[in-house]
C-alpha cells in the first residue's frame, strides 16, 4: 500500500485569545495520498485555514504530529520548515499573493532563487510555465498590469516552479469571476490528472469542492465527514 504523502495524527492547534484558549483544530486525523485531489471544506471558523497553515508547513501543531513525505514536521525549526515549504509545497492563495514590484517572470523565478536553482534553469522553467498557462506575452508585466485571472495563473506557475509534491490552493477562485474561476479549476484538474500532482484545495464553497476527488468536511476543528466524490 502507498504511504500517504501527508498525514495528520491527532493534531491540535490552540490559540490564545486573551486569556481563553481557542482550539482551532481538535485532534484531527487525516491522510492524503500521493496524486490525490482533495478538498478540505468547511464554513468560516471551522479551522480550515489553520489546517492549511499546518499542511503547508507555515505553522506547527500545538499537539499531535504531521508527516510530510514521511518526515515529522511538528518539531522542525522555522528555517527547516522554510526549506520544506520551498521544496515540497506550492501555494496558491485567494489573493494571488504575488510580489507587486516584481514582473510575472520574476515572481515565478523567486521560489527557485530561494532553492539555489541555477539562473539559466530558473529562466527556462519560468518561461516554460508561463507559456503553459498562456502568459507567454505577459512575462514582463507587473501584477498590477495583469487581470485577476492572469495573476492567479502566474501564481499557479509560481507554485509549480520548484516541482513540488503538493499544491496547496486556498480559495483559489475567491477573487475571480466565475468563468476565470472555472479556468483556474480546470488548470488544477489538469495538473492532477496529467502531472499527477497532489492537490489540496481549501474552500468553503460546495461547488468548488466538488471539483476534487475527495472532500473532507471540517467543522469546529474536527473532520466530520470524509467522502470520495469520484475516481477509484
Amino acid at each position: 500500500m502507498k504511504s500517504p504523502i501527508i498525514q495528520l495524527e491527532k493534531v491540535w492547534k490552540t490559540y490564545k485569545v486573551g486569556e481563553a484558549p481557542v482550539h482551532a483544530l481538535q485532534g484531527v486525523n487525516l491522510e492524503i495520498h500521493r496524486g490525490e485531489f482533495i478538498a478540505i471544506q468547511g464554513p468560516s471558523g471551522s479551522g480550515k485555514s489553520t489546517a492549511m497553515n499546518l499542511i503547508g508547513c507555515l505553522d506547527i501543531p500545538t499537539q499531535g504530529a504531521i508527516y510530510l513525505d514521511g518526515q515529522n514536521i511538528s518539531e522542525l525549526s522555522e528555517s527547516d520548515l522554510a526549506q520544506i515549504r520551498g521544496r515540497k509545497i506550492g501555494f496558491i492563495f485567494q489573493k494571488f499573493n504575488l510580489i507587486e514590484t516584481l514582473t510575472a517572470l520574476e515572481n515565478v523565478t523567486l521560489p527557485m532563487i530561494f532553492q539555489g536553482i541555477p539562473e539559466q534553469e530558473q529562466l527556462k522553467r519560468a518561461k516554460k510555465l508561463l507559456e503553459q498557462f498562456g502568459l507567454g506575452d505577459r512575462m514582463h508585466h507587473k501584477p498590477n498590469q495583469l487581470s485577476g485571472g492572469q495573476q492567479q495563473r502566474v501564481a499557479i506557475a509560481r507554485s509549480l516552479a520548484v516541482e513540488p509534491a503538493v499544491i496547496l490552493a486556498d480559495e483559489p477562485t475567491g477573487n475571480l469571476d466565475s468563468k476565470t474561476g472555472h479556468d483556474v479549476m480546470k488548470f488544477l484538474r489538469e495538473l492532477n490528472t496529467k502531472e499527477h500532482k497532489t492537490i489540496v484545495l481549501v474552500t468553503h464553497d460546495d461547488e468548488l469542492a466538488r471539483h476534487a476527488d475527495r472532500i473532507a468536511f471540517l467543522k469546529d476543528g474536527t473532520i466530520v465527514k470524509d467522502i470520495k466524490v469520484r475516481g477509484g
Binding site: L58, D59, R85, G86, F93, N97, T101, I113, R158
Partner: protein, 420 residues
C-alpha cells in the same frame, strides 16, 4: 540563496521605495558630503603645510627672535612678515652679526644667512600699496632659497637698487603686473625689477614678497636698524646633519648670549620640526571638524533605521509570501540588510559627489586660510577619502538596518501573510 540574488531583491526594494526612502537617503547625502568636504579641506591644509615646509628644504634651520615656543612657533608657516611683526612686539630684534659668525663657525653649517623684513609703501604706475619686503644677502640667499625665476635674474652682490618680486605680488597687487626692467618706488626710493619669481606652489614661499639686497632694505625701510636681523636661516651640509646642528647651534647661542633654558630669547626650529608640529595641528583640526560633520551622519543613520522599520512593516505581506515559497530567515535578513546597505551606498555615492563638488569649489571662492598663514585655501580629495566615505556610509546603512532586518527575518509566515 546566493548573495547575488539577495542583492537583486534588495535592489528591487530600493528602486520601488517611496519618496520617504529618498528623503532618508538625503540625510546620508548631507552627512557624507559634509564629511568629505571638511576632510578634503583638512587634507588640503595638511598638504599646504607640507608644500610650504618642504619648500624650505629638509636641511634648513631657522632662528627667530622671541622667548619660548609661543612667540614664534609658527615660523615655518605662511607669510613671514605678519609673524615677525608680532615677534617684534613681544621681543626686540636681537639677532646680530655676531650670532651669524658664531653659527657659521659650526662644522655642519653650510650657509648662514641673516635677513630682515618689514612692510613698506610702494608706488607703481600711479597706484600705491603696502608691500612686504625682505632684505637678503644675495649670495647666500641664492643658496637657501627654493624659489625659481619666472623671468629675469636673481640679485647679484652689487645690485643695490634692484629687486625681485614674488609671483603673487607681481600679478595681483597692482592693476598693471610688475615686470622686469620696470621701476617701482618703495618708501620713496626707486627700484628696478630685475626678476620675477615663479609661483612657489604652496601658500607661503616668496609669492607675496619683494626681495631686495639687505643694505638697500636697511637704508630704505623704517624699523630695521643697522645691526639686527629678523631671522637667521642656516642650511646644513645635509638633511641628516640637521639634528646635531640644531643642538650645536642651541648650545653655542645659549653660551654666547649668557642665557639659560628659561631666559632664552630666540626660537630655533628645523623645517622638519615645524612640519611635524603643523601637520599635527592640521590633523587635529581635521579630526575635530570631521567629528562635527559625523554628527549629521548619525542623524542620517537614525533616519535609515526609521525608514527601514517602516519598510519592513510595509513589506510584511511580501515577507510572508517569500517565506511561504521557501525563503529562510537568513534570506530575508540578507535582503533587508543589503537593502539598508544599498540605501547607505546610494547616499554615500551622492554625498561623495556633492562633497567633492563643494570641496572643488572652495579654492575658486578665493577663501583664505584663517590665522597667520593666510595662504589660499586648497582642498585635496584623495581616493582613500572617497573609499573611506563610501565604506562608512555602507557601514552606517547596514548598522542602522540590522535591527529592522532581524525583525523582518523573525516574522512568522502565518502572521505575515495575514497582514494587510
Amino acid at each position: 540563496m546566493r548573495l547575488e540574488k539577495s542583492f537583486k531583491l534588495a535592489l528591487n526594494i530600493l528602486f520601488h521605495s517611496k519618496l520617504r526612502s529618498w528623503l532618508t537617503i538625503i540625510g546620508i547625502v548631507i552627512g557624507v558630503a559634509a564629511v568629505v568636504a571638511i576632510v578634503s579641506i583638512g587634507e588640503g591644509l595638511q598638504q599646504n603645510v607640507q608644500n610650504r615646509l618642504s619648500g624650505l628644504g629638509a636641511d634648513i634651520i631657522t632662528i627667530s627672535p622671541g622667548g619660548g615656543r609661543a612667540a614664534g612657533g609658527f615660523r615655518g608657516f605662511g607669510d613671514h612678515n605678519m609673524e615677525q611683526t608680532s615677534a617684534i612686539k613681544s621681543s626686540p630684534k636681537n639677532l646680530t652679526k655676531r650670532d651669524i659668525q658664531l653659527i657659521a663657525s659650526i662644522d655642519n653649517a653650510k650657509v648662514v644667512h641673516g635677513s630682515v623684513s618689514a612692510k613698506g609703501a610702494a608706488y607703481y604706475l600711479g597706484e600705491t600699496a603696502t608691500v612686504s619686503v625682505n632684505g637678503i644677502e644675495p649670495a647666500e640667499w641664492k643658496e637657501i632659497t627654493t624659489s625659481e625665476l619666472e623671468s629675469g635674474r636673481f640679485l647679484g652682490p652689487s645690485d643695490y637698487g634692484m629687486i625681485i618680486v614674488g609671483s603673487r605680488i607681481a600679478q595681483k597687487t597692482f592693476k598693471q603686473p610688475l615686470v622686469i626692467n620696470r621701476m617701482i618706488t618703495i618708501e620713496g626710493k626707486p627700484f628696478k625689477i630685475v626678476g620675477v619669481l615663479k609661483e612657489s606652489g604652496g601658500p607661503g614661499g616668496d609669492d607675496n614678497k619683494i626681495i631686495m639686497p639687505i643694505n638697500a632694505a636697511r637704508d630704505t625701510l623704517q624699523d630695521i636698524g643697522n645691526e639686527k636681523f629678523d631671522s637667521i636661516i642656516i642650511k646644513a651640509e645635509n638633511a641628516d646633519a640637521v639634528d646635531s646642528l640644531l643642538a650645536d647651534i642651541d648650545a653655542k647661542l645659549v653660551l654666547a648670549r649668557h642665557l639659560t633654558e628659561k631666559t632664552k630669547d630666540y626660537n630655533l626650529q628645523s623645517s622638519k620640526q615645524a612640519q611635524e608640529r603643523m601637520a599635527s595641528i592640521a590633523q587635529t583640526m581635521t579630526l575635530f571638524l570631521g567629528a562635527i560633520a559625523a554628527v549629521s551622519l548619525i542623524v542620517g543613520a537614525v533616519g535609515i533605521a526609521n525608514t527601514m522599520f517602516t519598510s519592513v512593516l510595509e513589506k510584511t505581506k511580501d515577507i510572508g509570501i517569500m517565506k511561504a515559497i521557501g525563503a529562510r530567515n537568513t534570506d530575508i535578513l540578507m535582503i533587508f540588510l543589503l537593502n539598508a546597505a544599498l540605501v547607505g551606498m546610494t547616499g554615500g555615492i551622492l554625498g561623495i559627489s556633492f562633497g567633492a563638488g563643494i570641496s572643488s569649489l572652495i579654492p575658486s571662492l578665493g577663501l583664505r586660510m584663517i590665522g597667520p598663514g593666510g595662504g589660499e585655501m586648497t582642498t585635496v580629495i584623495s581616493i582613500k577619502l572617497l573609499a573611506e566615505a563610501l565604506l562608512l556610509s555602507i557601514g552606517i546603512g547596514m548598522t542602522a538596518g540590522v535591527i529592522p532586518a532581524y525583525r523582518a527575518s523573525k516574522l512568522r509566515p502565518v502572521d505575515a501573510l495575514r497582514y494587510e
